[in-house]
Symmetry: D4
């Protein structure tokens, strides 16, 4: 299947963080591709990749980065596909640097930013699927089932003192 989502990260070491998001896309049967592409160490390759994404059928780009986290913003500068940014927690400022570097984009070049922490990659994947849902009804229904399951699970054990 042609990938609809591209998951980009600056370094291979970011993969364990992003893998939880990829698994959500697997669950929702959304085809995706994954690339290590650095805004700083390989800016031209990143630009080429992102510029070609729309033609290759990519509909949403998820980009994760930490510190002076330029990857999502630089990707957004080269495309008019929706770009979602995942701020990766850093050892120094707990991801506040990553968050501000991603979310405070200037007027004209948006990045839809999700949470620092475990929820971030999962929610980037879900938001990508919600976006795809507008055009792909089967993805919308997959998201609907995912949400219904979430609600069921949330209501399954109303008393936290019960055995698991």
């Amino acid at each position: 299947m042609t990938p609809l989502v591209a998951i980009l990260m600056g370094s291979k070491s970011d993969w364990p963080v992003l893998e939880t998001g990829a698994k959500v896309l697997d669950t929702l049967k959304v085809p995706y591709e994954v690339r290590v592409l650095s805004a700083h160490r390989a800016p031209d390759a990143l630009a080429d990749y992102v510029k070609g994404a729309e033609k290759r059928g990519i509909e949403v780009i998820i980009a994760a980065a930490g510190g002076a986290a330029h990857l999502p913003g630089v990707a957004a500068a080269h495309t008019i596909l929706p770009v979602l940014g995942v701020p990766i927690a850093t050892s120094s400022f707990q991801g506040m640097d990553s968050l501000l570097s991603i979310v405070q984009m200037p007027s004209g070049i948006p990045v839809g930013t999700v949470a620092v922490g475990k929820a971030g990659p999962v929610n980037a994947a879900l938001l990508a699927a919600e976006i795809l849902g507008g055009k792909h009804p089967e993805v919308r229904e997959a998201v609907r089932r995912y949400r219904e399951n979430l609600t069921k699970e949330a209501l399954a054990h109303p008393d936290p003192r019960e055995a698991a």
Copy 2:
């Protein structure tokens, strides 16, 4: 035209902040509706509105809020449409409270967050249009022209010391 985007805010006083985003949607010829709906003062009306949005043809929800900015997250809890959050700057913590209350959503319920400050409403509108672009080619082309104009303007005056 049936609105494709809903712009929600907690209070009428937020409108001047959000109006710049609405104007971007006007420019891009994206039909939208605007509602004052408080997550705190009128939670049931908000829930009803958001639950009915998908059936009424809304494809993207933009929600703006400040302080303990629950509006985007509460909206997201009631829909599987993509929800974009606009953190409004506050007098106390400059919008850091708004930003964290919007972006740090828990796993399962995403909100795509844009910048605190002037760029926020503009970029929420552009991101909504980029999302719509996947299904509505005329919106995609409108975004493409918008971006090309941005680039042209950015390059028009390379020397800032020249007269405007």
Copy 3:
């Protein structure tokens, strides 16, 4: 005994944090109930529960949450019982996100917020008991004895270098 206090949390995993507060209520012989109710994953169930709390005899609601911690504020939006918010520390921003999402409530919908950290759940329980004390003299006296014990213990070992 009919519960006078409801302790709410968004996820079962929050229970170990809140259990210290429940134990304080045990000590003070204040009857309470405990519920896992998510503002995001099960918003309707939360609304139903909170709307019915007053009639069922609940007099104070304690709600704990982390990150974009909407639970206390959403609970407060559905009741005029006093709601106390417990910000749970997060791995990313140490609970600053939780604190601001809970304490910065807009005009009209108050949440009485306690500390991030170990003291939070204990103090939410004590504050609930102090509130109940206005109507229930035996709770007031239980709080009085609790406080007197605290003072005694604080004065028992004036020199920290002595053996415990």
Copy 4:
């Protein structure tokens, strides 16, 4: 009428901030008294006042302070009445100092903290009234009407572009 609420502040200059809260109590017909009492410049007078509050019929104490905002915590140390803390915004750290000095109380001595900013004094008054509502049915009903009005007003003008 015997005052049920005491509104304390460290300096006369805090009154304009707190007056909005006092007006809410007026609206709700909750009798209150107001005192300037400094935790730092007049600690003994503060201790005497707070120790005598319960016997004099005070049921809730609201204490506002800024900077190293000790007033609410010191008041709480001298009473088992519920104490609500209002962090006043400061010119230096926008009230972050006030907020942390009030909300981070140690285990055993709770202060229910409300927002930094305009909503703080209003919400402290409302929370005090919600607390009183447990014992004083007419205050509960006054709060109920207040909340119903809030909801009505919030829904009165769904379109912010309409003339006021």
Copy 5:
């Protein structure tokens, strides 16, 4: 020897942090006493102790606290002896709460604040000794020797790659 310095802390658990400061006073042969005295759990005992300190010969008070760290400020409110505040690091906000609660004292009641972290207790002890040095020449000379040793040690190993 009559103690010249009082080292106060809110809880016995703070002693390991403060012990490094006490050892500096031992090295400088400055007599001191140590007390656990809580501004919140035993405010009257604290007030009594501090009010009597000047007459009992105490010349400098060191007070350490964490979170809503009121101990140094409350001590300062009851004496005109110099009070030095040691902000203890907290698990939640790394001591930023402690620092702001101690250093942002209002006009009229000073607390001389030292660092959050390991250097804090040591420097509080040294500053106390520098203060005592104005009246007690033997303390001044002890501080002078301490400083000269610091400088010698700092210069002893100019190349960090050498074996220790």
Copy 6:
């Protein structure tokens, strides 16, 4: 009269901030001198001045600075007189940079830090006077009267609604 206190600042433009502290010393009849001495632009002159301070009769040094506020720490590096640091509010980080640059001194070289904001210079002057009070009984009594006046004023108008 020989100055007992030296008030140092990095730039003439800091004088309006520090003048309130100087006036407190005037009130307490503590002789002082004032110098503009930059840790960065004139480091040798600063070192010479501070090294000679003790012999010239200075007993306490007050140093104010903003931003990367090195003046108090560099002064402290050249003397064993007590050094008090006044963090000046900055336009960028509201004095958080100044505060951390002054208070987080390393082990061995203490700076007693006071508040960012209006209270800072006043409290540095009062703390200097409290320090001098150990050796100079007339200064101690002047501080005692100052404090008694503060208390009187704080109690003079218990109701903030009264006309001034």
Copy 7:
């Protein structure tokens, strides 16, 4: 004269901030050129410009940006000339976003960052001149004279109370 320094900014509106730095280069007789080049709105033009800078004789690049301030980092990704970053203060987070987005660059692509605030552009220009000084003796001597003048001015008026 061939420019040795390039001053880049994302928007013409940044020029008033950067002009003070350009004036320092004028004073030091360092030839420079100025360009408006956006990392987000015109990324290809920026890449082309920066890639060609070394060959055209540029020896140091100064890049200023605010918010998600990617300009300095993106410039650094395209050159091995030294890049100096000037974080521009923002209305929302006072430049903390700009600072972290510039200074927290990943390993391999350095940006030498200067202060947020008035000192930033001046110091970027001086640091550029200090860098040029290694190869251009006349620039080194110009910096030396500039520094000597700074010291002279700093020492000219030791008493801030004197008339200007």
Copy 8:
């Protein structure tokens, strides 16, 4: 070979942090020297060392420090060589104190600051080499090869799911 770069640190315990930067200089064949020199414990030795650096052939100074990190700024005050500051992460404020103490230098005395965290020392070394590259062509070419290798490595494994 005469050292071209001086790496300074306040304490031997900083060496493990800085060693990664030194190794980069080794790779680039840039000769350097390393010194432990404290701005606070041995200010005169620091001043002497830095004042003599230019004559001894040093062309760039790298200075690392944590907390109230004065070393880079004090070094910069004594030389017109370019000074690069490396903020060392602290246990209390994660290096935010170090960062602000280094980067917020006043007008006239620049310090080029690099990242808090692992990238800091590496990037200080690379920036030093980029600076040296203006005058020493072999260093420029070494940096060019280093960068080309970075890019190659960044592109070597585009799919993070592949075995390493």
